[in-house]
């Protein structure tokens, strides 16, 4: 059996098995069932609750609204003006409904400070809910019968169908793309700084309009905190002070968030322009360049992110610069790396990565070795030089500038947020012994640990009132030892927690009970009013229309395509894989290093579901599509030709390898795969 056939026999099942992970198989619907549902108020309440009411807001039979008048009760439940059915405090009489259900029966219950506990019975299954919440919100309960053996078999068959479909379609697409030969752009050699200008302009134009619509920019509570620091001249490193100091520097010209947004617009456009020029020099045609420029400029994600004062934007820009420079190293077979400008450029970009976010240092460290892979003539001493420049800049800022302006270091608990989040999982699953529970209770009561824990979000667990950070900081060694003991004793709890938490990174569709934080919906956090920070749109009517449109993009059926970062991650990996196969070389795999490193580090450090963490992956993915249109350079590789299909496989790539003056013209002897 030849190697290609063996690879495909291994690759198809592997890609197929990964497909249902990224896009989980939909459970087979139970199309029609005889449903009997009983809601019984327990006249019991949470200690902080001010009542034991139960509010049934709405009910749906499949997709249809179910009139609440169809629910039977003894008259102690009260109908309200908007049609809700309410059991006042003290009522224990149940409300019942029985009938044929199409798919699932969905009940919406109100959670607020006056809500109590309720028992929900569906057939033989009984569940108790505590509806108390500090602020009012709806709780959606989706009821379906327990799966029968027949349903389980159906689910298995559907899963297998997804594995086969995903595996075959992905492999076929990869093969078709890898074996086609895009026309090399005739303008490849002529790609000039003029192209840089043209590729930059549409983005600058669209994003400046976005800034006017959302003037003076978007700011979350983090951004407002940083703004307060730069006004007072007192800095702390919880939000990397390097970023706060950069904003301080920019605002010496114009003390407005718009000044920072404008610089962000310029930097993102420049990074994009450089990467597009590299693609052009590698042989990507003008049509594809135009498409990439259009998509990048018109992307709603870019428009909202680039005008938001977040460290993540600078971080993403640094990642994009890195991607562009890696592309240049690959295109020139590593020759460019011998230039001092290249080494300084890489050093500055890696230092920026490490300084803009606390997770940036490991990402920079993981990206650095990719230079050895990407460039055929890259040398270890060049990589060491780049690493030294980055380290020198990092130390100069952290050790020199920070000391000069007296930056307060982050408290110990801040850098161990994941540890507290993990402990929450163990508390909720009841895996702590008495002495361990006593230690956990020192941070916050066990009841609060259970109430505030969510595998998707550590914010409430960390910041809701009742926590004791001082206790944690004093007993930090004990907490670390406890964490280690629990992980060794019961690793599966941590695995379940991480699988749920990191779904932001690897799952394309949104989990049923999940969420995603996108852009600051309050435009500028209201906590900044006292320092003069408030939205002041130049065109309020347009702003309202744009916000309504953006809200529709966050609906479950669209959010996976627009905001969730898993698709961009896979798109980059797939595009790089196509280039690897097309060139029969592992070298292009290094182009995915910033994307892979960032995703890997977040898999370990994530505590919330914020799209901004993977914004760098998003911007790179829009350019990675361009890699699919780089012609093969295999014509240059001695002994690699495929006679029968030579023309189709290799195309006119020799002249389109896009090697600029000074770059080596000889054939690259890439390692084959």
């Amino acid at each position: 059996m030849d190697r290609a056939r063996a690879s495909s026999r291994l690759g198809v099942p592997l890609l197929g098995a990964l497909t249902p992970l990224a896009i989980p198989t939909v459970p087979p619907p139970v199309w029609l069932w005889d449903g009997e549902v009983t809601l019984t108020p327990l006249n019991a309440r949470h200690p902080a609750a001010q009542g034991s009411e139960v509010w049934l807001l709405r009910a749906r039979n499949g997709e249809q609204l179910l009139p609440l008048a169809a629910f039977e009760h003894d008259g102690s439940w009260v109908g309200r003006d908007a049609g809700e059915l309410v059991a006042p405090s003290g009522v224990t009489a149940p409300v019942r409904w029985r009938g044929w259900v199409h798919g699932a029966l969905t009940l919406e219950l109100l959670m607020h400070p006056w809500s109590g506990r309720v028992q929900v019975r569906v057939g033989e299954r009984v569940e108790e809910l505590d509806l108390y919440a500090e602020t009012a919100r709806a709780y959606t309960l989706r009821l379906t019968p327990p799966p029968s053996p027949a349903v389980r078999v159906t689910q298995g068959v559907l899963w297998l169908a997804d594995v086969v479909s995903g595996g075959v379609l992905l492999t076929a697409t990869l093969l078709f793309l890898a074996t086609r030969s895009p026309e090399a752009s005739r303008e490849a050699r002529a790609a000039s700084p003029l192209l840089l200008r043209w590729s930059v302009l549409p983005g600058v134009l669209v994003w400046t309009v976005a800034l006017l619509v959302f003037f003076p920019g978007l700011m979350s509570s983090d951004s407002v905190d940083q703004w307060r620091q730069l006004l007072r001249g007192q800095y702390h490193d919880a939000h990397p002070a390097a970023h706060t100091l950069t904003m301080w520097l920019i605002t010496r010209v114009w003390l407005s968030p718009a000044a920072v947004a404008l610089v962000q617009i310029g930097m993102l456009a420049l990074a994009f322009g450089i990467a597009v020029r590299e693609l052009a020099l590698a042989g990507v045609g003008r049509g594809v360049q135009g498409l990439l420029i259009g998509v990048f400029a018109l992307s709603p994600v870019n428009a909202m992110m680039v005008i938001t004062l977040w460290k993540d934007i600078w971080y993403a820009i640094a990642m994009l610069f890195l991607f562009g420079m890696l592309l240049r190293v690959w295109r020139t077979d590593g020759a460019w790396l011998s230039a001092w400008q290249a080494q300084v450029g890489f050093g500055v970009a890696l230092a920026a990565l490490a300084l803009c976010r606390h997770n940036g240092a490991p990402v920079a460290l993981l990206t650095l070795p990719a230079l050895l892979l990407v460039g055929r003539t890259s040398r270890l001493r060049q990589v060491v030089a780049i690493g030294s420049i980055a380290l020198a800049l990092f130390v100069a800022v952290k050790g020199g500038v920070y000391r000069l302006v007296d930056v307060q270091p982050v408290p110990a608990w801040f850098s161990r947020q994941m540890l507290l989040h993990h402990l929450g999982a163990y508390v909720v699953e009841g895996r702590l012994e008495d002495s361990e529970a006593a230690l956990a209770a020192g941070f916050r009561s066990l009841e609060e640990w259970r109430r505030y824990y969510s595998c998707y979000n550590a914010t409430r667990l960390l910041y809701a009132s009742g926590r004791n950070f001082a206790f944690f900081d004093v007993h930090i060694a004990d907490f670390t030892a406890l964490w280690l003991r629990l992980v060794v004793r019961d690793p599966m709890v941590l695995v379940r927690h991480q699988v749920c938490l990191t779904s932001l990174i690897w799952r394309v569709t949104m989990p049923e009970d999940g969420y995603i934080a996108t852009w600051p919906h309050k435009l500028i956090w209201e906590g900044g009013r006292d320092i003069g920070l408030a939205p002041a749109s130049m065109v309020p009517d347009v702003q309202r229309a744009v916000m309504a449109w953006l809200t529709t993009l966050e609906r479950r059926e669209l959010v996976w395509l627009v905001w969730r970062p898993a698709l961009p991650l896979y798109l980059t990996v797939f595009s790089v894989a196509v280039v690897c196969v097309r060139h029969r070389s592992w070298r292009p795999a290094g182009l995915a290093a910033p994307t892979a490193a960032n995703s890997l580090v977040w898999m370990l450090l994530l505590t919330v579901q914020d799209a901004r963490f993977q914004y760098g992956v998003y911007v790179i993915s829009l350019l990675a599509i361009g890699l699919l249109f780089i012609p093969s350079r295999r014509g240059n590789e001695a002994g690699e030709s495929i006679s029968g299909d030579r023309r189709e496989l290799e195309g006119p790539s020799e002249q389109a390898a896009g090697v600029e003056q000074g770059a080596p013209q000889e054939a690259p002897a890439s390692p084959r795969i």
């Binding site: 939909v26 619907p29 169908a161 075959v168 006679s643």
Partner: protein
Amino acid sequence: MQHLFNRRRVVLACALGCAFTLSFLTHFAAADVVADVWAFVCVTAYLLACFGMLAFVLVRGVGARLRRFGPRARLV
């Protein structure tokens, strides 16, 4: 003709067509077609035919592309 419709390729295309149909139904069409049994049967049959043909073309194409990576492709 015999080469074009060899039994192995047809069986593979049928199996793939079934898999594509099931995946399409569960991810995209289930909510719209399950209400009416006859509509479900007709839509499933139609999808099976369409996806079966698509699978047949795909199997041919993939086979041809795979051969370009094989050792025989390097013989001049």
